[in-house]
Every structure is written in C-alpha cells, then in structure tokens.
Amino acid sequence: MKKVLIVDDEKMFLRTLCEGLSIHGKNYDFKIVTANNGRQAIDILNSTEIDLVITDLRMPEIDGFKLIAYISSKFKDLPVMVMTAYGSYNIEMEIRDKGILHYIEKPIDFEDLLKKILSELKAERRGRVKGMNLATFLQIIGMEKISYTLTVTRGKDFGNLYIKDGELIHAETKNKKGMEAAMDIITWDGVTIDLIDNCNFKGNTINMALENILLQAYKTKDELENRKKKLNKRKNEKQINLVDSEKINEIINFINSNYNSSIKSLNIFSLLDKKIITGWNINNELCGIYGDIVNNLDNILDECGFPDIDKYFLIRFRNDHLIYIFPLGDIACLIQINDINVPLGFIIEMFTSKLSNTNLKKDYQ
C-alpha cells in the first residue's frame, strides 16, 4: 500500500484532511501518514518508505522549504506537493505539462487534492520523473514572497541564487553572473538545494520577475533539447547512410571518369564529426571548415524559422572556382570545381536526382 505523508502544523486541519483522505485511501490503496513540522517529517522519511509528500510551507522548527531542500538531497525521486495560499494559475498552465508543478492551493479543495494524489501515485507507476524540480521550488518561494539564499548543486556544478521578497535579484556560478547564471542554474535537473535564511546579496543584477525568468529559462531549455533531438536524429541516420555508400561510389566513379580535369576534389563526409567517408583527392581541412559552416547555417535557419537547406549550397569565388555542398542528412557531398565550364546543371541533376533514386532520401524521411 502506498503511503502519503502530509505535513502541517495546524493539527485540526491535518486531522480533518487525514480522516477525509483515509476513507478514499481504502478504495484507492493508499495510506495517510502525518507530521506536524519538518523535523517530524524528516524522522518519518528516514524510518518509513513514503511515496508522496504533501507539505505546508510555514511551520515551526524546520519549515516546508527546508524540508523540500532536504528531500531534494536525500530522496531525489520522491514527489512533493506544496500547499500554498499563493497559487498562480498562469504559470501553472504554462509549466504543468512539463511535469514540474506540484502545488495545491489553500483553502484545500478536497476533490482536487484527491485527484492530484491519485494522479501522482499513478504517475509513479508509469515511471514518470519525480521529485521537486528547482523551478517549482523557486516558483513557490516567489509566491510566498520570502527571502532566501539557495546553493544549488548538480554533480560538480554549483551556483547560488539570491532571492529577496520572492524576487530573484542575483545569481552566480563559477563562470557566470546575473541573468546568464540564473538561466543556467534554473534548468539544471537532479539538483541538491541548500537553503540559508535571508538574502545574502546587496544590490541587484537581475531586473525581471521570477515567473518570467522561469518561463524564459524553460523556453531556452526546450530549444536546446530540440537541437539535441535533431542531432540525435542525425546520429541515428548515420548507419543507414553508411550502408548506402556503395551507391555513392557509383556517382564518384562516374564524375571521376568524365570530369576529372575540372573537379579538384570530391569529398563525402560526416557532418557529425567531419570525417571523410569516401571521395577522391579528399581534403580533410576543407571538410572540417565547410562541415562547420553547414552545421552553423542549419542552426541559424532553424533558430529563425527559415526553411532548411534542401538540395545544395553553392559558393562561387572571385576566381570563378566553385564549392558545391549537397547535404544529405548526416553526411554531405562537397565538390571543389575549378572550371566554370563544367556543366553545373548536370552535376546538380546527378547529385539531386541520382541520389534520390537510391534509398538515401527515403531513409532520411
């Protein structure tokens, strides 16, 4: 049977909540355990296996924030819900989908609380990422408008967040300060939080509402994750492409036998590590430089919502030499042409239509 620990210093409220939930606990297979403050809760956590913690914030001895900080370091996977009188509907809507928001507004809507408990206990069974996220923790500090200095640790990284009356006024990591450091720290996962009462920073290097900082930080994180996904997609495609290198060699042989004097080099290389797969008169340095250019170009077009490169990228230099690049998923064909009289239309046609006749293009899609 699952165990839900509810922590609140108002004994009457706690008893009412416990009695009400215990009735449903029999039907839904969970049991309520209670504590009157953070210290009692920590004792229970260390002696009993708990599946969900629901805590008030303002309590004597060890308050809810310190309890959450303790849980973040000792019980990283334990989901925590916070009972607060200062919920924010807008931000809840914005970040609920990310699975990082766990708070219940006071006065408690009993049905809503039961739903959230059942949802959290069910989510655990599905193997959802649990625990109190730093962004959620900051959000709650912001709602309660209190002052804290947080030391946030993630593996070897650590940083400080200085919060005064619920607003983030300064942040610092080893190499960054101000907003840049805040954006970095906020999106860390799997953190340990240490709390110091009061804000130990004088002045102000950040002038944005905490809610907005959180939303912006997560937007940035999403963008980075999208880029990673794209890169991973390319990595997954790599094997497929290498299998088809035989087809590519056919094209190389054809060009070599027909345009050997006009084409200075032909390189087929990986856009991931810039290593050459095949070609003739291959030029590693050239592929390194132009691999970077294609990858950066891809990122810039992506960031700005512009269409991706489709068939080719062509550069013509002052001496009329040309560089043709045909990006094909995670690989690219780079051709150096030193004769303007080469039938460019033919080369483009061959690389775009002949390659699409192989299985390459289909495999990318």
Partner: protein, 123 residues
C-alpha cells in the same frame, strides 16, 4: 553609392527573373537594414547578414578563399536564396526555385545584378 542606381539594379533583376522573383533586398552590412528592394523582407535581411558573417568568420584564418562573388542556398518549399556580398553591402535575392531556370540565374541574372550593383556602389 547611388540609391537611384540601386533601384535600377533591382528593376533589372525583376526584368531578368520575371515571375520567379519573390523578394529582394540590398542592405548595408553594418546596419543590417534594407536600402533598396522589392517585397522587402527585413527578417531575411537580418538572417542572411548573420549567415554571411558566420561564413566569413569561419573562412577567415583558414587556408581557403573567403566569400567571393555569391553564394546560393537551395531551400525546401521550392525556394532559393542568392546572396551577393559586395564590400560593406549585400544583395539578397529570394526566388522560386521551380520556376527560375538555374542557367538564366547563373549566367544572366546574377552577372547582370553584380555589374549593376558595382555600378551603383561606385556611383
């Protein structure tokens, strides 16, 4: 630089490419703002200013030539972009790759555009 000649250069390009031209802008690299154009695209101006800068920075210091006459990007959605860098200015041309014959583009439209561009810059 003569603004009137820039406009004339744009008109020449429109004539060469006929219905294939979607938009074009001539802009100053420092400002990243269009000086002359047709169906002007400020976002694309800012974007390709950044792209050219990125390519230049990557090529600088390598043993390979820096950007010269032009570069062309064939994009999805049947679009093609031609960028002609010219000292402190750049000319960006967005066209329909399905209807613009590459031969016409490479051998007529772009050479005409480059010479009109040079003329306008000399004044």
């Amino acid at each position: 630089m003569k603004a009137q000649k820039l406009m004339e250069a744009v008109e020449t390009l429109k004539g060469d490419l006929e219905g294939s031209l979607i938009a074009t802008d001539i802009w100053s690299v420092n400002q990243g703002i269009s000086l002359a154009g047709y169906n002007s695209q400020p976002k694309a101006v800012a974007l390709f200013n950044k792209v050219t800068d990125m390519i230049n920075k990557t090529l600088t210091g390598s043993n390979f030539p820096e950007l010269g006459k032009y570069y062309i990007l064939d994009l999805v959605d049947e679009k093609m972009v031609v960028i002609i860098p010219m000292d402190e200015y750049q000319w960006g041309i967005l066209l329909n790759s399905q209807t613009a014959p590459l031969g016409l583009l490479l051998n007529i439209a772009i050479p005409n555009a480059i010479s009109a561009f040079e003329e306008a810059l000399i004044g």
